[in-house]
């Protein structure tokens, strides 16, 4: 590096600043700065350049001193703080922002949890368990005991329960025993009770049941007339949807017993 090149570089050097550790100045400083430690110096000191460098530093500090003489009005700080207090809403610190975010996440998580729990509670599998349990309860009372299907329909319509159902073709051969209206998360479900003609157990008044609900009231309900068949708790069930209604036919016995009603 020539002394002229070093001068061009050092013209931007500011003594007493971070520039002394800036690698961009290191080589030029080796040539010009007598205060540089010998072990850090890669090139010998140039006496002429060193004189120029001294003058540069003195000139810089002189001008810098003029800039540093600028003083703000004594009231400026108070003015800034007063304006902040009167006009500006308190700054949201990262801590507050973080807390707000956590709160938002908790609210959303709670909402989603409640949403999914409620959704899970209204799931078809839960519905089916519920109606099977209702049918198998040792002592349940029908709202109305009659073998008059027209009378049953009138009662159901009066209770605003599903009454416009379509019976499977062979179920018409079964004898109506009565009906009940049961609650499903605030929605009404029709329970039609029949006697299949087989001998009933002690205390039993029916052994064949058809449950009718609004299809939209049950999450993940079958969406077509294709029957979903299960066997559980000594009862076989078939579920399907038709005309916006969800049907579940249950019978004491197995799938073979169930099939003869379709």
């Amino acid at each position: 590096m020539t002394p002229e090149e070093a001068k061009r570089i050092l013209a931007l050097y500011r003594p007493g600043s971070a520039d002394q550790d800036d690698p961009a100045f290191a080589e030029a400083l080796d040539l010009a700065d007598p205060g540089r430690q010998p072990e850090r110096r890669a090139s010998p000191l140039d006496p002429q350049l060193s004189r120029w460098f001294r003058e540069h530093c003195a000139a810089f500090l002189g001008v810098r001193g003029k800039f540093l003489d600028i003083q703000p009005p004594p009231a400026l700080k108070d003015q800034i703080l007063a304006e902040y207090k009167s006009h500006v809403t308190p700054m949201r610190s990262p801590r507050r922002v973080a807390l707000a975010r956590v709160a938002c996440v908790l609210v959303v998580a709670t909402f989603l949890t409640v949403f999914f729990i409620r959704r899970a509670q209204r799931d078809f599998s839960v519905y089916r368990q519920r109606v099977v349990a209702q049918a198998l309860r040792p002592s349940y009372s029908m709202d109305m005991e009659t073998n008059n299907l027209a009378g049953i329909n009138t009662y159901l319509a009066g209770r605003h329960a599903p009454a416009d159902y379509v019976l499977p073709p062979n179920l018409k051969s079964a004898v109506p025993a009565g009906c009940a209206v049961i609650d499903w998360h605030g929605k009404l479900v029709t329970m039609l009770c029949f006697r299949s003609g087989r001998p009933l157990g002690p205390g039993e008044v029916a052994d064949l049941w058809l449950f009718v609900a609004n299809q939209d009231d049950v999450v993940n309900a079958p969406t077509s007339v294709s029957r979903v068949v299960t066997e559980a708790d000594r009862m076989a069930t078939a579920s399907w949807s038709q005309g916006g209604q969800l049907y579940t036919l249950g019978v004491i016995g197995d799938e073979g017993v169930l099939q003869k009603y379709f």
Partner: protein
């Protein structure tokens, strides 16, 4: 790193910010206004800064941008009435017989091309690294250095003229 309070930030930075603002505007009223505006922006938007270590650079950048926005607005809608004359008067200080003073230095700074002024002011005012100056001015480091080289050259010319005027002024006064 913990986030300093608003008052803590004001205490730490209002003086260097004011000095930078004054070196750009050369009037006390405008410098105060610019400094206050910078802290107002900090109060409303400072929380967006993720790294508290960047507070100083953020404040200087904001002040410089605010200054440039105002300048552009003034140039688009120039005020040629009495206001300009009034604000122009206070910073035209008489040349001191004792040599250069702050006012002369700032006056000289004000006479160099505008795009050199901020770089030169930051060069003298603050112990900002070149990287920080580049961030504040939103230009590459190479541009900072070329602006400084030219800006310092122009400043030296202006200061020489001021010095000559000062000496002439003193000589005339003495005679």
């Amino acid at each position: 790193m913990t986030v300093p309070s608003f008052e803590g930030v004001v205490t730490q930075f209002y003086q260097p910010l004011y000095k930078f603002a004054f070196s750009l505007t050369r009037t006390e009223a405008d410098a105060c206004d610019l400094t206050q505006q910078t802290f107002y922006i900090w109060a409303t938007k400072g929380h967006q800064l993720r790294d508290p270590a960047k507070t100083k650079t953020w404040l200087f950048t904001t002040l410089h941008r605010t200054f440039l926005q105002r300048r552009r607005k003034e140039l688009r809608f120039p005020h040629q009435e009495l206001i300009e004359t009034d604000t122009a008067l206070p910073f035209v200080e008489p040349v001191s017989a004792d040599g250069l003073d702050s006012a002369q230095v700032l006056e000289a700074l004000g006479r160099i091309e505008e795009h050199y002024q901020a770089a030169v002011a930051l060069f003298y005012l603050e112990d900002c690294s070149y990287k920080e100056i580049a961030e504040i001015l939103d230009v590459p480091i190479g541009t900072v250095k070329s602006r400084l080289t030219r800006g310092l050259g122009r400043l030296k010319e202006m200061l020489s003229n001021s010095g000559s005027s000062g000496r002439i002024g003193k000589a005339q006064h003495d005679s």
